[in-house]
Symmetry: C2
DNA sequence: GTCTATATTGTGATAGAC
DNA sequence: GTCTATCACAATATAGAC
């Protein structure tokens, strides 16, 4: 028999996720989270005692969600171009459906840089393992002597920035909402080519 | 005779800039701004009436500062590779000295997307003019049929992201502060090459 | 213009009944 | 576990003297 009931704790976490992503830590209000969850403030404190505890749970979950996705794709054992295509496609797809997450993380990152160190320590996939595999892919193929750290960062930048800076870019180029969605969709195909051209040996 | 006195209004704007960049809109406190300016809260309200008015002035200034720099370099009339090198060098240099600005803008952008439309309307350099010149550069040279909008966005992304996500990246790759500065410094030389490789006709 | 003092409203957090 | 009522305090904003 399928469990249909959602526990109060889960409802709170869902609501908190929504509100924190929408407003950030300082901007979020316990009242708004309570309303979103259909309960009252007192119950929030009963479950999580403080706003910071609640925030910690949400931030940790957002961070791990995005990095688990990212790292599992990057760690797969396929040729570089195929890996890039998979990686960029699934990653941008994820960002499209969760467009608040990268902005949220970047935001809290700049106000609480110490916090991410702690979160990385409890990451389900240790970054060092990912990096090792990525370096291997580069060496196996006939690539320019590209620093794999640069490659990794460039890829992240090219995927995330158009999502985070969407309102700005959309206005500069006078895109409609629909046109911008299409623009992002095209990038899924064009980014892997762009990157491969940049690093392929002539 | 050089004017040495700094008006109270200028002191307030300087202080507000510092505090808003450090804490964001919600996180900033009028008291902290007053302390930073060496005056008291009442005087803030005397000059700017509300916190939002003060914020508007600061945000507008940060936004125009970064875009004026960006647009004036991108609009120069030199060959593409040279333009890219100039652009990336001066732009990253600017970001290094004002590392809080892009994070600040991205942050408030995600909480007040409407606001940027208004700010763009009062921009000193109209975006449309920049785009025209950029398109011209691409056509003049033997380049792949690259969408100039993609090129523009990719360049922004590659410059800004390593600055904004610094604490995260620094931890992943276990860079010391000094090593990260050097890493950014290297990107000034490598990014133009990376981009030119990506878009040059074979 | 600049200050001290105070009003007013928000918000995170708790007490205590059920 | 869940609620209502309330506390304690922090933050924006204003009044009014100088």
């Amino acid at each position: 028999m399928v469990k249909k009931t959602i526990s109060t704790e889960e409802k709170i976490l869902e609501a908190a996720k929504t509100v924190f992503h929408r407003k950030g830590y300082e901007g979020a209000r316990m009242q708004e989270i309570a309303d979103e969850a259909g309960i009252n403030k007192a119950l929030l404190h009963y479950y999580f005692r403080t706003k910071e505890n609640l925030f910690d749970a949400v931030f940790r979950s957002a961070f791990q969600e995005i990095f688990t996705k990212l790292f599992s794709t990057i760690g797969s054992d396929v040729p570089l171009e195929e890996k890039l295509t998979n990686l960029i496609g699934t990653y941008i797809g994820f960002l499209q459906k969760n467009s608040y997450i990268p902005g949220f993380i970047l935001n809290e990152l700049s106000h609480n840089p110490e916090k991410i160190v702690e979160i990385f320590k409890t990451a389900p996939v240790p970054p060092s393992m990912i990096l090792k595999r990525m370096r291997k892919s580069l060496n196996d193929e006939k690539m320019k002597k590209t620093d794999f750290r640069d490659l990794f960062i460039n890829m992240l930048a090219l995927c995330i920035f158009p999502i985070v800076a969407r309102p700005m870019i959309q206005h500069i180029f006078e895109f409609s909402d629909q046109e911008y969605d299409q623009f992002i969709e095209n990038r899924k195909k064009e980014l892997p080519v762009f990157i491969m051209n940049a690093i392929r040996k002539k």
